[in-house]
Symmetry: C2
């Protein structure tokens, strides 16, 4: 029988006490997490060491599920551990603790899945992982980087076990309620009623006004305590504020502005508490510093592992392995790409000749392999520039002190100095030919490799080294996750270097589920054998292929097909070193949930591959997970994953059931609580604007009366789902849930579909398109006016996507639409002034996106540019023009057409006249026959302005012979100004034909 | 190295888990004790079994000492255990838990000292002990009798370890700050700063108005939760109310009325929470009842221990031992006295002849020993009354059915029936002579002994038996503390009976410190040898003598004398079975504390005997404790006791230092927060009344101007010390502290002494007396008017003592004082109407006390009655009269004096006349010479009313001859009415002499 709930707690306490942790108690006021307990929140600040472990029954009102969910509760039991400073091997100690409570990593799937923890309410963040046990998140593992707004030094390792979920995995049960608390009573018997009651209180009973007042009083107490330097009492009241806020929030009582304000106030208090604590400890002279060990528990032994082998004398394989704690999937790719780009150029800079360079990456290792590397740099001679010649030698060529000094410094005789002209400096200088003996490669690399490692940058980096393990007083190395070992071999020889407190050696580590055994790599060349023997698929493409194959096989077993999206596949590939597919199932009843909900849960939360019928897109009640490791205990892994998914679906069910207690329409007023943007008001404000704008856009889109009415309804409901619990929980389901709930609320299918389509890049229905346009144009108008136009990489409101979302559907559907007019109408509806120049900016911005879209569609850039220079306000028409122009450009006779037309345009431009300034062509002023015949030709083919590019160019084609004859025979720039003006006017009639259609001067060959 | 703080917790958790306890966590909102955690507060209600253990960091704002006290803090760590139902041997399990954490009862002094726990805020109470470890209270051990106003069934055993104090004893250190929390950090390093900060917050910073508002809001939430049947959320808010109240209280912000009101509101809420919980569990059908074992873990094996020995046939020694858990000292005496009174009469009722009956008592056993007891009842014949003779037999003497039925029923023949006159019933009846064969003594006792045990009554009894161990459905046996074994032997034979689930046998238990070993008692006669061999001093007087001897010896060792007060000696004697004196010392600096503080702490809190210089009353820095057990580990016991006393004195020092931050006068306004009595207002109101009353009494006591001024000042300050922390902590020091602080505040010595003397039965200074009179008369006047006059045994306000306190000082000092007038003045000052008849009642009540006082002083009751019949309003004068009259009564010639005077009084009374109705004596109406000579005698010796008894009786003596002659010769009741009236008037002049002095008719021999 596995340990029961209380035995697990006792065992963890015993385990961590033996590791030097002080055992602490749960806090005496409600906290959302063990992190808020002062034993973490305050003690991680400042330089004093602190190792602590405690249980924390964590209170989170909005996780209440009335005791119905298998693993989600308004109170859950955390076991919290803080290790300050990092002991060097916290993952291994942690895994030992799992073994102590009976979880054998060999028989389960334990994964470290990226999780970047952030708690803005206390200005704290850290990097680390969710630890997964058979798909279940059982622990948060964080390197705490900042707390209370203060950078932490040293960094603390924070482990937060979710005890219920640990036990669910340990006991392989479906729900926490069935767990034995002790020998006689279950978890459910002790706690379930409590869950029901508190959920009811938090969601239905709590008095909003009273709690608001209580918040105020508590805040005032915190202030008073801070004024007296009372850190802990102040902290207590911050916690009480926080819990009171949570009650208000669970009651749905916190509006936009209030939420921001309350958060700001709590954050400010937390910051001041942190500062006051630091100040206090400083005054007390850090009493716990007495305990500070040297922190050098790990990795020091490797200092002795450098080898005294002779340096090879022929080109030899080289191998660098950077061994890390589990890297985030993205960071694996980022680092990989940087190494691919950096290593060859580095070798060139180092003047080391080499064979093929290959880079490999897994979540735990970044590998550079060079199949042959020169054992030393070649010797070489450099000319080193010295003083000016006249300062170096006198007129007689005798060396002056300057020359002597220079020669000595460079280790040559003065007689070997030569004088050369230095063109750039202008004058003659003394040069020394200095011979550089090539250095041995190990020596060169020992210097270069630390810099190479350091040069790898990540979107988010972390620190982990305690001060005592750092060289000098720098703030310590930064990396995506801690580096725990380094292998650097040239042949059999270790390249000795140290980075981030780790010394390079020849020992790598095996698979995580096999306990990461240390394995000696005999030589660089044998590295791949060693790794293969350890069961690790080093090559990402190989891993990916293996996953695809296994997933497809598994899906076939149930007669289905797996949905394999590239992004998910790539992520999963970067989460494992030895992929093994595990297929599990779920209750058929869950299939009644919206399909997208099921898929989102499987993919996003669980990184599973969903399975569909092979003949349809309908889902099968199966999923495929990728385990890291072999198939030992695979049934337990499968069941564990099934339980997790079951709980997730139960939660989704809870949301859907709760949400459906009222129709979609009923959620709309709640939009007032969601901010859109401070200056632009709430989502309800936006929704109201959309309603007005859609009414104005309907005629512009030529909607029928019925369509216009559906559009109104769809726009009215479009944003309502943002207020539902399901979307609050999974934002990516917005629109999808709106559509689903609209249908279940009895809305017309057209309306429901439009709600769902509003977030698609290209809505398929006309109403959907109209809602999307309305939404996007409103955003562009408002946000540009609010000064939030995208700059550089910053585009927090996704305005690029919005603009593309305007032009792409219009062009794809070929719907003519006056963007300028639409923007003008949207601008008028904004609560802030949208100036004309801003409107122009917006149109320009949209045109930019249109240009990209068209080019991406395969049109030549010059064609696109030519058209957009003349027309962009109507994307569909512009696209049509591009299409036509592209066809013309691709014609064989284009080389005759364009130059002829170009001559007309150019002469007009060189004369610096604009069409409007030219006189009307007068036949009387014609002098040459060619003038007359051109005039005649024009009169015969031109009927007003051409309406599209084809019309225009068909005219031009007909005029080309006359144009060419005209320019061959007639001097346009006649001395007689009247004649000149008349001729220009004649040519201008042709040049002006492209106005509003395309500016052919933008074309290649013009 | 003993276990550190966290190891002790782990060990206790492990220990109690193995005993079947569920391990629970500290509560997530501030509680004053583990009892408030729902795992105790709610789970003790109802029939479901529940065994639980948990740590509870308990928050008590007013225990904050700024981190300065060695063992008193605003947060202390409790380890809470609840065993429901009582497992039968909770003390033994508890002692095993102490062994588990390294406390060996053989090497320490572990005592179970009566403690009756009560928590009115939650309508809860229980009986049990403080467990002392070397004088330190380390655990509260309670049989929980009521919770939330509900009688608990089954009763829960509640153990509350004070972890810091356990550890202080275990580590033999002076203060908790030095305790190791784990291997690297001390308790002080983790917690001391927190103590300072929170103390400061609670005493100085907390916002009173805000907390008051928060209380209101929380209360409203609790109400709202109750209205929805949400038990736990409601309970949470009751706890929050309670903590908020504690903050207000620590800030000194809670006035009389408010305190009562807030308590009432909290109590009411707690009661409703309890009820709602019970209701809820009932609806849920008590899910945990599934676990109910039969609860028969203990004592059942003794059922088999009855013996089959033959019944003795000669008078044989008998022995009954009722073995209990430690009885309160008072209850030992109570039970002892009841057995002494009850056993002989019981034996008589049972018709068992016997030799000497002796009763013994210790805290753990009540013993009845009979040196020889008849082995059976004698045979006997009883006449049993049947039907009336005429219904039994017809005229011919033939038996009718009534006679036959009666004969059959009594096992006799109808012919053996006899007919007798029954005087009381009036008539002839049939009687049967029924022979009763005497039953064997074991049989008789087996029935009688349970009733004997049951008949022992205590001031407070408790229940402890779980339902499953009870016969039938009665609510279980009650006793002072649980009965755990019964020895009942007649010779070698066990008298088999069962009481309270315990079956009698021949096994007693040895000394608690020796682990209470089971010891077989071979026979009743050998019991005393067995007990002596076990080291137990069974005889109380022997124990007492041993204690006195050891204490005196110990005191002599330091050249001092022990203060041995009888009450303390008696209590200590009842706390041990094997007394061993331990002398310890304390810091000399503590001697600067007021002497009475030191003595009170030693005696009242610690049950120590203080030691004085042999030549003075000055204290020496020593104390003598009485340990239960031998001298093993006596040094540890001594040091432990020293540490406790050190902490107690530190606390006293804290109070005194805090108190002396302002002069005594400054405390007086605080009296408004202490209620005197609802109708009579606060102590400040009382103090104001006293001030006015003392001004009026001053002339009545003939005080000089200076004295009157000092009286005013003393009365003004008299009650101020009630507000000080020292008196709040130790109420018995009221007055003593007032005197001390008055002196230190620069008040005149006369004023200070008077403040101190106000509580003495007989103040020695005039001012002190005046303050006392003022205080007591005000109380009598007000409380009688409020309907709180003592009735029966009820005297909650100590009015009997107050009345004695009025008369005794007046009589002892011989100060003439008009009580009637004083009561009248006091009455006028009361806030409620004190009617004249109430005033009369008061005077009558005081007179009653005066009577007692005088009789206790050795005066004959008839003398006292005689005087008090005529004068009582002036106690000093009455006492003087009693004294004089007593002297007269004791004279040899009294037999001649009283009869003579009596003749005068009697004839007046028999004539039913009152002196006022008689005419003036007229010489003209005299007939006889003896009339004239009596008249003459009267005229010669009587000069108006005599002013005291001596004067009066000196007159009477002189008149006796004339009186005697008068009555011998003269017929007073003459037929001539005028003569008769004249003669009566003459005699009336003599009879009237005693008016206002004494009513001699009350005297014996009158």
């Amino acid at each position: 029988m596995p340990l029961n709930f209380q035995q697990v707690i006792l065992t963890l306490q015993q385990f961590w006490a033996e590791k030097g942790c002080l055992l602490w108690q749960p806090y005496y006021t409600q906290v959302g997490a063990g992190t808020m307990n002062p034993a973490t929140f305050l003690r991680v600040l400042g330089p004093e060491p602190w190792n602590v472990a405690y249980v924390e029954p964590s209170v989170r009102p909005d996780d209440g599920r009335y005791g119905e969910n298998p693993n989600r509760f308004q109170v859950h039991y955390q076991f919290q551990v803080v290790l300050k400073p990092d002991p060097g091997d916290p993952q291994e100690i942690y895994l030992d603790s799992l073994k102590a409570i009976g979880i054998d990593p060999r028989r389960h799937d334990i994964r470290f899945v990226e999780d970047n923890w952030e708690q803005p309410a206390i200005s704290a963040w850290g990097l680390g992982w969710e630890v997964w046990l058979d798909g279940q998140e059982i622990t948060q593992f964080t390197y705490f980087q900042q707390g209370g707004g203060v950078k932490l030094d040293p960094v603390s390792v924070e482990l937060t076990y979710g005890l219920e979920r640990n036990l669910i995995g340990l006991h392989n049960v479906k729900t926490a309620w069935d767990l034995p608390w002790n020998d006689t009573v279950t978890y459910g018997e002790v706690r379930r009623r409590e869950e029901f009651e508190h959920s009811k209180y938090y969601y239905e009973v709590g008095n909003v006004q009273a709690m608001r007042e209580v918040f105020e009083r508590f805040e005032r107490e915190a202030e008073a305590c801070l004024a007296q330097g009372l850190v802990l009492p102040a902290h207590d009241y911050v916690l009480k504020c926080s819990h009171t806020f949570n009650i208000l929030d669970a009651r749905g009582a916190v509006g936009v502005t209030e939420r921001q304000a309350l958060f700001r106030r709590m954050r400010e208090l937390a910051r001041r508490v942190g500062e006051a604590y630091l100040e206090q400890r400083k005054e007390m002279e850090y009493p716990l510093l007495k305990e500070a060990g040297d922190g050098e528990s790990v990795n020091r032994e490797s200092v002795t592992r450098t080898t005294n082998l002779p340096i090879p004398n022929i080109p030899t394989p080289f191998l660098l392995e950077i061994g890390t704690e589990e890297l985030p999937a993205n960071d694996v790719d980022t680092a990989h790409a940087q190494l691919v780009a950096r290593v060859p150029s580095l070798l060139e800079e180092l003047n080391l000749t080499h064979g093929e360079v290959r880079v490999f990456s897994t979540p735990r290792r970044l590998v550079v392999s060079i199949d042959s590397l020169s054992p030393r740099q070649p010797d070489r001679e450099d000319l080193v520039k010295g003083p000016p010649a006249d300062k170096a030698f006198d007129k007689d060529g005798v060396a002056l002190p300057a020359a002597m000094g220079f020669a000595k410094k460079n280790g040559v005789n003065t007689k070997d100095l030569v004088v050369r002209e230095d063109v750039s400096a202008g004058g003659k200088y003394v040069f020394a030919a200095v011979k550089q003996t090539g250095r041995a490669t190990p020596e060169v690399l020992a210097e270069a490799l630390p810099k190479l490692v350091e040069s790898i940058k990540f979107e988010k980096s972390m620190r982990w080294l305690p001060a005592s393990r750092r060289a000098g007083n720098e703030s310590g190395a930064a990396f995506s996750r801690p580096i725990r070992w380094l292998v650097a071999l040239l042949g059999e020889m270790v390249i000795p270097f140290e980075y981030a407190g780790v010394v390079s050696g020849h020992t790598t580590r095996g698979l995580r589920p096999y306990d990461s055994p240390e394995i000696v790599v005999p030589s660089a060349g044998k590295y791949f054998d060693v790794i293969r023997d350890a069961g690790i698929l080093l090559d990402k493409e190989e891993r990916k292929a293996s996953i695809v194959e296994q997933v497809n096989q598994a899906a076939a077993l149930v007669g289905g097909e797996a949905i394999i999206e590239e992004a998910l596949l790539n992520e999963v590939t970067n989460l494992v070193e030895m992929p093994t597919a595990v297929m599990g199932g779920f209750d058929k009843e869950s299939l009644s949930l919206p399909r997208d909900v099921l898929i989102t849960v499987m993919k996003k939360h669980q990184r599973y591959f969903p399975v569909t019928h092979s003949q349809s897109t309908n889902l099968l009640p199966h999923f495929i997970a990728i385990r890291n490791g072999d198939d030992l205990g695979i049934d337990v892994v499968r069941q564990g994953n099934e339980h997790v998914l079951g709980a997730r679906f139960a939660d989704a069910n809870f949301f859907v059931r709760e949400d459906l207690k009222q129709p979609l329409e009923a959620y709309r007023p709640g939009l007032s609580k969601i901010i859109f943007q401070t200056k632009l008001g709430s989502m309800l404000d936006k929704s109201e604007r959309m309603l007005k704008l859609s009414a104005e856009l309907a005629p512009m889109l030529a909607l029928s009366e019925v369509e216009a009415s559906n559009l109104q309804r769809a726009t009215y409901l479009a944003k309502a789902d943002l207020v539902t619990q399901m979307v609050t929980e999974m934002t990516s389901l917005q629109g999808i849930i709106g559509r689903e709930y609209a249908l279940r609320s009895g809305e017309p299918k057209e309306v429901a579909d439009a709600i769902g389509e509003q977030y698609l890049p290209v809505p398929q229905t006309k109403i959907g398109l109209a809602v999307a346009l309305t939404e996007r144009i409103d955003s562009l108008a408002g946000l540009f006016a609010a000064g939030l136009a995208p700059t550089g990489a910053k585009d927090p409101f996704g305005l690029r996507r919005a603009a593309i979302g305007v032009v792409q559907p219009l062009t794809e559907h070929g719907i003519s639409f006056d963007l300028r007019e639409a923007v003008r109408k949207a601008a008028k509806l904004q609560p802030i002034d949208v100036k004309e120049e801003v409107q122009a900016q917006i149109l320009e911005f949209i045109t930019g996106r249109l240009s990209v879209v068209l080019k991406d569609a395969g049109y030549k850039y010059d064609v696109v540019d030519a058209v957009l220079a003349e027309q962009s306000d109507n994307p569909a028409r512009a696209a049509e023009a591009v299409k036509q122009l592209q066809a013309w450009v691709e014609r064989e006779d284009w080389v005759t057409i364009l130059p002829g037309y170009a001559r007309c345009v150019r002469i007009i431009r060189s004369a610096s006249v604009k069409s409007g300034q030219l006189p009307v062509v007068s036949e009387k002023l014609f002098v040459e026959a060619e003038e007359k015949s051109l005039y005649k030709a024009i009169r015969s083919v031109v009927r007003g302005q051409p309406s599209n590019v084809d019309d225009f160019l068909n005219i031009v084609v007909k005029l080309i012979p006359s144009i060419n004859t005209f320019f061959d025979k007639v001097l346009v720039m006649a001395e007689d100004q009247k004649i000149k003006q008349n001729r220009l006017a004649l040519v201008g009639q042709i040049a002006g034909l492209s106005t509003g259609l395309a500016d052919l001067s933008k074309l290649e060959g013009f």
